[in-house]
Subunit: 627 residues, 2 copies
């Protein structure tokens, strides 16, 4: 079934500079601190040297089954960083790592450290659990990014050989697909770079086989001599943990391991776009709606349950026990961005922005060297960032997403230029046959004013499509100082005209402090509000309050005021107001007591959620009881 | 270390009639419906016939390792029922079952179906996980109850042989103790019945060995050829799951599997009382405070976490995901009752009453044939009672507790008679050398008025100790129509006088509707109240409301009125008032939106928590957001 799918093209990463302002500072930290830190950790833990394949039975620290993916994501991050900014030092380190990785390739094209050096007899014996195709996917993404950044074919050639070998094992007429998705979207990237449709076809094999009966995971378990039923009963879930409970076109609910789900859906969206597959796109839309309109935290985090790192049920969004893995929010950004290129509806960009400014950015400390794997929306004070994890997916994922943030800002589509995100800097792309540059000056998200300057060699007619975020209820646009009232199409204000170089657009988005409520089905947030201003979700941190922040109530009528504090946390807008706190007195030996009429006023100070746990450790709360 | 421990003596079960009123009806249902239902289920599932030891390898439905305990608890329940009320039919069935059970005893005294018929080679090979001593404990409790009810020695003699055999394997100089406690308290019961101190000594062995290093559970794992560290890593917790992380006298926090914890602490309290062991009693007090002042739901449920059925951390009391196993609330009643007999402080009775009227009674449907294993404090509508469980501990535990409820009402202590619970009926015991009868007329818990009539052959001086419940802030007492102002000692109003037969005491406990708040540390209840009246905790059930009950807010100033509805749920006091609900409109496709100023008034109707899910299935909420 082939139907036309509208398709936006993001501006190329090398043509976008995100500089200055909110993101500029964070991206600089990513380049200067996070990427080197991740390298040092990969080095110190043996992940990089593992590619030398020198581990021998009996030695300590055997390379883990998914170490390869960490190094791959670091290569990808470093490549993106080099795409946007020169660094001879980083370039040198990158080439050393790439040479090491490529050198680990086997004669037949296979490339996986664990199943070469540690358990070679187990190659391809357990696609469900052992992450080989997942690691392969990350290496392919790394190779594409590395080639695009440097022009080098070292890793790309190796990955082409590996992909072709994988195709010979799992291609048309064969069986099997990964328990942890990732290779599906990677193969589409490889196809886009090389133009070789066989990679698209292989990705489609993996996607289309998923969930069919008789079940591949049962067959491979039986081949290992296991009782598949017994194995399933012992595990975190059934097939749905890896989205293999149904063929993907029949799936309607976002279920199972959240990162796996989002990687799969991203690959499905890529395939739908490339193959004009309306059925697959319809499944993507259903799964998008399931994930984002019934199973997503206000910070853009998904996957409520620690057990299995899973999406659970509609409206099951507990705060203190929230899992909301950083990688899952990142993967949601991937999925959102892909859907947005197919269908430029601000709903996708709103979720992308929500995740980026909140549940993604919370994943990394201000200094770029500490990370959250889990992002709760309330804490008793025991949750803190760490400088590394045994399972180190999140730091490496953060590094590569931030290094490639420029990809998410602009898109071109025939005679339209889309601005999805407001971020100081500039980007250029091909629009209506000409090179157009869009420069943004803005203090967003602290301020809703954005000044856009169009750069063009010769005048040209196209439409500038400016996203009016879903959180914004009043805005103004002017062009060269004159107020215009553009039509809004799917949330994008359309300013079509014959543009000249130097034309200036002023967008002013009203950004009041808002109290946000959750759907009545979210029982834990009943009677509670979250504070949001623009795309930023706020929280109370204990170090700003004497009363236990988890007991502070916010009267509906209390005024909330926004104020920029340039000294705090690198410069942030803080929200102030008057709250009510529970009395801490008279509780000795008591767990329950009658409500007393006493009211205790407290001054509350809310800071951006993404910046909590950068000061003194303590409790934190996003959803505040109303009073 | 021997110190005097004050000691109350409960009135004997056979001398207490709980009749009419609130409990009379529930106990009748227990006798008429629950006990026969549990028997039929034990029969139909093979639990009873398993004692014929006819199962052979290859046959279906092998007797499970803890089936014996279900039959034992049914024997105990049936015995208590026969103690208070004649039933030739029940007596006949009971003797058949007892004969079957006793007939399964092996020549050496061992009596366990699974480890005789199914895996005889595994006898005593895994005390940590395989529940043999747990089953033995329940059989001993059953034997004591059966002998007390019928005078028969059939089961008692068998259990004495079994206990002596257990003593030969695990007694002084040997090692080992159960992973699931229960036998500790059972052996004290056997000691109390027989006067044989060796059973007390064996119980003390099990208690005192617990948690010592080198660790017995490691030693037995090693003896099975396992790596203990690997085993522990795979399991729900470490030693603390079975309270074996420290010697019991060093334990300060109630941890691990909640039922195991309470059974252990009950046994410890028994031993402390019998052996005048102040150190052990101090540990009991610490563990009591930990469990009841920092880790208990307002319904008297304990054990927040489904995973491992465990107690977790202080103030970690999630509502919708609450586990609060029925058996754990029952076991808390056991522990409370034992502490109360050592130290007649109403704090123990308050918790006992809280659990009985709420988190215990919720475990069984009004018709007596359906059961909750898990007792959440909020539900999206998917939680319902079942007529049985693969792990059927709760129905059998409910049956035996309710059948023995009379034990919990009164105690005697030298020249004092304690009334712990208010319940229509009467009880008699030996006080100051004479038989005293206490008759209660009351509609409690629907009404705070209790009329007590003293029955005595000849006048006699003693003190009537009437519990003034912790929830009660105003009360009146009169004797023979004259107001008295008794001193209150540890929450018991002391009316000391020369009593004559026919003397009447009128107690009137003020029972307003109260809003209860939880300790500020309970983050999930911040900004919420529970409705309580007398000992009854209320909830909103969906079938009484159009708005989603989990979104209904209760304004602090809204009047709440109590009204007896004789047609509802067998006759209950319902609480009415005006609440505010979230608007259900305009949410299509949305998960979050700005708070609107609109207020939607709804009439709310709260019913006793213990009676929810007896009508149309639907959502439920105990803790209501304040407004």
């Amino acid at each position: 079934m082939s139907v036309p799918l509208r398709r936006l093209q993001p501006f190329e990463l090398g043509n976008v500079a995100v500089e200055g302002g909110f993101w500029g500072a964070r991206l600089q930290t990513n380049r200067r601190a996070t990427i080197p830190h991740v390298y040092r950790k990969c080095k110190a833990t043996g992940r990089i040297d593992a590619f030398r394949l020198r581990w021998r039975r009996g030695q300590p620290n055997p390379p883990h089954i998914f170490w390869d993916s960490d190094v791959a994501k670091w290569i990808e991050a470093a490549s993106y960083a080099l795409t946007t900014q020169r660094s001879p030092q980083l370039a040198k380190t990158l080439e050393e790592v790439v040479d090491l990785v490529a050198g680990a390739q086997q004669a037949d094209g296979y490339l996986n450290v664990h199943f070469t050096a540690v358990e070679p007899e187990k190659r391809w014996k357990n696609l469900r659990d052992w992450h080989e195709l997942y690691c392969a996917g990350h290496l392919i993404e790394a190779a594409v990014a590395h080639h695009q950044a440097t022009g080098s074919r070292t890793l790309l050639a190796a990955m082409i050989r590996y992909a072709d070998y994988i195709g010979s094992v799992f291609g048309r007429g064969k069986g099997g697909y990964p328990g942890h998705e990732e290779i599906e979207l990677a193969l589409v990237k490889l196809y886009r770079l090389t133009g070789e449709r066989r990679y698209l076809a292989l990705s489609k094999c993996f996607v289309d086989r998923r969930g069919r009966r008789p079940h591949f995971f049962d067959a491979e378990a039986a081949a290992r001599g296991e009782d598949p039923a017994a194995t399933r009963a012992r595990r975190a879930g059934d097939y749905d943990n890896c989205q293999a409970h149904l063929p993907v076109r029949k799936q309607a609910e976002a279920v199972g391991h959240a990162v796996r789900a989002m990687y799969l859906y991203s690959g499905m969206a890529d395939l739908a776009a490339e193959t004009h597959d309306a059925g697959l796109l319809a499944a993507c839309r259903r799964l998008w709606n399931s994930a984002t309109t019934r199973r997503m935290y206000v910070i853009g985090g998904i996957g409520s349950a620690r057990h299995g790192e899973r999406l659970t049920r509609d409206y099951d969004l507990p705060n203190e026990s929230a899992y909301a893995e950083t990688c899952a929010a990142i993967a949601l950004v991937f999925f959102a961005h892909r859907m947005l290129q197919i269908d430029p509806d601000r709903g996708y960009a709103d979720v992308m922005e929500r995740a980026l400014y909140n549940g993604v950015l919370s994943g990394v400390s201000l200094d770029g060297r500490k990370f959250f794997y889990v992002n709760p929306l309330a804490s008793a004070g025991g949750h803190h960032r760490q400088d590394w994890f045994g399972c180190a997916c999140c730091p490496t994922n953060l590094a590569r997403l931030l290094a490639s943030l420029g990809l998410y800002v602009y898109s071109a589509a025939e005679a339209n230029v889309y601005v999805h995100l407001y971020a100081a800097g500039e980007g250029s792309g091909e629009v209506a046959g000409r090179r157009v540059t869009i420069a943004q000056e803005t203090r967003y998200p602290w301020d809703g004013r954005v000044r856009i300057t169009v750069g063009l060699d010769t005048p040209c007619r196209f439409a500038l499509m400016l996203r009016i975020p879903g959180w914004c209820r009043k805005y103004k646009v002017s062009v060269n100082g004159e107020r215009v009232r553009p039509a809004v199409r799917k949330g994008y204000a359309r300013i079509a005209r014959r543009w000249r170089g130097g034309d200036a657009v002023a967008l002013s988005l009203d950004m009041p402090v808002e109290r946000i409520v959750a759907h009545p089905g979210v029982a834990e947030d009943a009677g509670r509000v979250a504070i949001q201003r623009g795309p930023i979700v706020y929280c109370l941190e204990q170090c700003d309050h004497a009363a236990d922040v988890r007991s502070i109530r916010l009267p509906d009528k209390a005024a909330l005021t926004a104020r920029f504090d340039r000294k705090l946390l690198g410069g942030v807008v803080v929200i102030g107001g008057a709250g009510l706190a529970a009395s801490p007195a008279g509780w000795k030996g008591k767990l329950y007591r009658p409500l007393s009429g006493k009211r205790r006023k407290v001054r509350l100070k809310a800071i951006p959620y993404c910046l909590w746990d950068n000061r003194a450790p303590g409790a934190m709360a996003v959803w505040l009881p109303r009073a």
